[in-house]
């Protein structure tokens, strides 16, 4: 199968959906000729014109609100939010307006929009361009949240999100834009709410989202060399969450570590761990453990920044202890 970058996959998904449905359009800062700072959208404006690849002023709440209104009245906007950190600027329009409109109207109004943004540290961009804020929006009822972990997922999830009648927020890992993965030439969708078992194993379950999928896979390789067979699962969307697949795995292995690049406190890892504890308690041989970003603002200095994110080395160490029964009374 051919291999393409995550950036190319996003670009293809948008182009295919814009060809299929004339109501789909892209709106955001520097999306047209510039193709975004990450060049993810390069070429779209040449094919679809400035009416459908709409450059805006630097007014995040403004273009987010415009997208909500356009979505309520017949269009399918794909909002490009240059950095995930700018979510704080659009919170009212996203969380008070888009997320609640269907509910507040008793099901009469829909907001079929996609907000594409990104996550991920270690790009030496410091505290306001490095955050992974997906837990923040996953907390709000009415928003679906997807976290593609490779070019394949990026394409399939985005196409499904564009066809979804609900607001969907997609976080792409900005360090992954140039990474290649096998992506079929023919059309495919990945439904929101379907986790993927990336490798099977009977000793321990490693659940990794987005950038942390690769951390889990690398750790699983190392553990395999030591005779520990890890099952690796990518939830792919955290709202809705495919609990059934996660529970089936944990019931088989009896041990699990949840790894996510958001802050650990009150985050995605805590939510998934709690659900596994509630629903698979008698199958567990040890508490479900969590690894997330350190609860500090992301520092600039490489010497400090690298300490804040989960790595495969730290994960292997934790998994080894968990498999050896050392973590039963972990603090």
């Amino acid at each position: 199968m051919r291999e393409i970058t995550l950036s190319r996959a996003v670009n293809e998904a948008l182009a295919e959906e814009m060809r299929r449905d004339s109501t789909v359009f892209v709106i955001g800062e520097d999306v047209a000729e510039a193709g975004t700072p990450f060049k993810v959208l390069s070429g779209l404006v040449e094919e679809f014109g400035t009416d459908r690849v709409v450059d805006t002023p630097i007014s995040e709440p403004g273009f987010m609100g415009i997208a909500v209104g356009a979505a309520m009245t017949g269009l399918r906007p794909v909002v490009d939010l240059m950095f995930g950190d700018f979510l704080f600027l659009v919170m009212d329009q996203l969380c008070n307006q888009a997320a609640k409109t269907h509910y507040m109207s008793g099901g009469k109004l829909n907001v079929p929009l996609v907000l594409r943004t990104n996550l991920g540290a270690t790009r030496r961009s410091a505290a306001q361009h490095s955050q992974s804020l997906h837990a923040l929006v996953a907390h709000i009822p009415g928003l679906k949240v997807a976290l593609p972990s490779s070019a394949f997922e990026a394409k399939g999830l985005l196409k499904a999100a564009i066809r979804d009648d609900n607001p969907v927020v997609i976080f792409e890992d900005k360090l992954m834009y140039q990474e290649k993965a096998p992506v079929p030439e023919e059309e495919f969708l990945i439904p929101l709410g379907e986790a993927k078992v990336l490798r099977e194993g009977g000793d321990i379950t490693l659940i990794g989202t987005s950038s942390m999928r690769k951390v889990c896979e690398t750790a699983a390789d190392e553990l395999a060399a030591e005779g520990v067979r890890a099952e690796v699962i990518d939830p792919r969307s955290i709202v809705p969450l495919d609990e059934a697949t996660l529970l089936a795995s944990v019931k088989k292995t009896g041990r699990a570590i949840v790894v996510d690049e958001g802050h650990r406190n009150y985050g995605v890892t805590g939510e998934i761990a709690a659900r596994l504890n509630e629903k698979a308690f008698y199958h567990l041989d040890a508490p479900v453990l969590r690894m997330g970003a350190m609860d500090v603002p992301v520092p600039f200095s490489p010497a400090l920044e690298d300490l804040t994110v989960p790595t495969s080395e730290k994960l292997v160490e934790l998994a080894r202890k968990l498999a050896a029964g050392e973590m039963i009374h972990a603090a």
Binding site: F63, G69, T73, L75, D92, N96, G106, K144, D165
Partner: protein
């Protein structure tokens, strides 16, 4: 009052009835609040009727509006019925939003009302996006964005007016200046002229007497026609007055405005009395006919209130419906 040349007697009578319907709706809502029959609280539109009616009478059902926390008037003026509105205010299943929205979130998409909004200025993006959609889909529909003078202090307004002007969107920003930003005189929070803020973006801005329904309607008719032909956006500041406090519970308000001022607006500038007197003067309706219209509307409202009070609440199973379009029940039972 100006003569609206393309208007006839039926139009004037409908405008009168629509204003009385709003006042009557609000009087009933206030009574429901005072008698503790309405959950929560509400913000009365009484006194501002000429704004909603003058504007909405210039619109078609396919034209859209966005509304505010003080939104009952816009909802009635855009064609909503008493029964579904009172049911919504009381949280009943027959309400426009099945009781999930209440006073501050009434939406009536069948008549083009995209919804009231409890965030001050929160709907300015939505209105502008609705105008963008109309233009992109090749429709000549216009969107009117209602908001108060208080909302002019929100940054969102300037972001979206900028884009509306850059992209020539068919949207009319209707600023209902009732002189009070919640509990504060607007002159204390707004520097300069409000219309000048729109002019700064190159948006044609007008100021009009918001207590004169015919003047509001005549101006809106002209602007809507120009909007349909691609001449938008526009900005209108409508000078008006809210008879009640910020909300129904804001009874003791002499610390921010005087009783004399309130009396002056009610006695000398009331939009309904003014149009009523004009209808008699122009021999369009007799005083008896006006009384009959008022009486009929009062009866309609009383029947709707009675219906709403007796109507059932939504069943408990609806609590986690409508969170998503495609997940029938979104929230699992706790511990389930």
């Amino acid at each position: 009052m100006p003569d609206n040349t393309n208007r006839n007697a039926d139009d004037y009578l409908r405008m009168y009835r629509q204003m009385v319907r709003i006042r009557t709706f609000e009087d009933n809502a206030n009574r429901l609040y005072l008698s503790a029959k309405m959950p929560g609280l509400t913000h009365m539109y009484s006194g501002e009727e000429a704004v909603a009616v003058g504007i909405c009478e210039a619109l078609r059902p396919t034209d859209r509006i966005t509304s505010t926390h003080r939104g009952h008037g816009h909802c009635v003026a855009k064609g909503a019925s008493f029964k579904e509105m009172f049911c919504e205010l009381l949280g009943k299943a027959e309400g426009y939003c099945r009781g999930k929205g209440g006073s501050m979130h009434i939406a009536d998409q069948a008549n083009g009302n995209l919804g009231a909004n409890a965030i001050v200025g929160g709907s300015m993006g939505i209105a502008t996006g609705s105008a963008l959609a109309a233009k992109r889909l090749g429709r000549d529909d216009v969107t009117v964005c209602f908001f108060g003078d208080g909302a002019t202090a929100q940054g969102l307004m300037y972001e979206v007016m900028n884009m509306a002007a850059l992209w020539s969107l068919p949207v009319i920003y209707a600023c209902e200046n009732n002189m009070y930003s919640e509990y504060t005189k607007t002159e204390e929070i707004a520097a300069g002229e409000i219309t000048a803020r729109a002019s700064a973006f190159g948006i044609e801005a007008h100021r009009v007497d918001g207590q004169d329904v015919l003047e509001v309607n005549a101006l809106t008719e002209r602007l809507v026609e120009r909007c349909r032909r691609g001449g938008g956006p526009f900005f209108v500041e409508l000078m008006t007055y809210r008879y009640h406090g910020h909300h129904v519970g804001d009874i003791d308000r002499e610390y921010y405005r005087s009783k004399e001022e309130e009396r002056d607006w009610k006695e000398n500038r009331d939009p309904i009395s003014r149009l009523g007197a004009w209808l008699v003067e122009q021999n369009i309706a007799s005083k008896d006919e006006i009384r009959a219209m008022d009486g009929k509307i009062a009866e309609d409202a009383a029947a709707a209130v009675e219906h709403a009070l007796a109507a059932p609440y939504p069943p408990a199973g609806e609590v986690d419906m409508h969170v998503f379009t495609d997940i029938r029940h979104a929230a699992p039972v706790i511990g389930g």
